[in-house]
Symmetry: C2
Subunit: 208 residues, 2 copies
């Protein structure tokens, strides 16, 4: 059984998909042992409690700097024996120390087809605004392992989503979430927990 | 009837798809009036002749510089009343003068999901090699209008293609061509010929 820790900062819609997958036995034998929020009183914590999962607040503002905060996260996750960390709408900046503590064991979902529309400044609605400004007809989501490079880690899964005439950043964000992120994230976590992901030379191989 | 000129440099597999679409009445009323090659004796010219289409060689090496060559292309296309220029495996560099002579009337197909893997150096197998090196799980093709920025023009259509375990640049190139380029290019030409493409602010709107 792979112990999973999920980091959140808000509503936790992606977290809910993981909880649902676990309840349905579709998480490859993984178990979410803790949900940690960088902000107090967010709804994601409520979702965790309702599913009988430990809900922890590690508020960023309680720590003097990003290094101290990153170490607190590492400690909390390691104390609980977490083997896979999932960033699920986690919006708080961490340091290299954090990703180095869990090499190829931190998963993130990005709302675009990386390497397009990734990197500094590309988060939330900014991503979808950029896709629309460029006039792309396709976008999508990418689940990848986090490393020291923002949105530059090994890609696990990608799924395309069409851009439609009249889309706004908001409608596009919703479609990408519903049609791609919610499908990809539980699938990637399941593959990890089944031991089917191998990382070599910056690329991920998925065993059959 | 929209007069179409197709520029080629090699085998002309994409040209063949256009010829087939025209024969099947699927080119939106457009008609290929000339096929111009920058290299002599390429098979694309043979494909044109077999379809009863004028086949012209305008060899790059016969011209002193890129400006003179670009002007020769412009003259040849304008003399024939060409309204839509399709770059179909056309590998010869032209100057800004050329794209400015046919604003939003030059179509190119790029073997990736732009803006990813586009721009200088991204042509042919280099594109697919880069996709594999980054470990992408999806790639695809983009049909766009050419402008002064390499692979930076308004996007008309995009289609995703999966990357498979064990892919080489060659197998990926073949799949992208067969599953995306051959479908998108005749479709985009047909939309243009039906007058359904509008370009505004660098983005393309497709009328229903």
């Amino acid at each position: 059984m792979v112990k999973i820790g999920v980091l959140v900062s808000g509503g936790g819609t992606n977290l809910q998909q993981l909880i649902n997958a676990q309840a349905a036995g579709n998480l490859g034998g993984g178990e979410i042992v803790t949900v940690i929020s960088s902000k107090p009183e967010v709804f994601a914590l409520e979702r965790a409690k309702q599913a009988g999962i430990e809900a922890v607040t590690l508020a960023r503002k309680e720590y003097p700097d990003v290094e101290a905060y990153s170490q607190a996260l590492i400690d909390a996750l390691q104390e609980r024996g977490v083997e896979l960390v999932v960033l699920s709408g986690f919006l708080t900046i961490t340091s290299d120390r954090f990703v180095q503590a869990f090499p190829n064991r931190i998963m993130n979902v990005h709302p675009a087809l990386l390497p397009a529309f990734g990197g500094k400044g590309f988060y939330g609605l900014h991503v979808h605004q950029a896709v629309l400004s460029r006039g792309c007809k396709l976008t999508g989501a990418t689940v990848h392992f986090a490393n020291e490079v923002c949105d530059g880690g090994p890609i696990i899964l990608q799924k395309a989503v069409e851009v439609r005439e009249g889309d706004t950043p908001e409608t596009l964000q919703k479609r990408v979430m519903e049609q791609a992120e919610w499908e990809l994230l539980p699938k990637a976590v399941s593959l990890f927990c089944q031991g089917r992901l191998t990382v070599e030379g910056g690329t991920v191989t998925i065993a059959p």
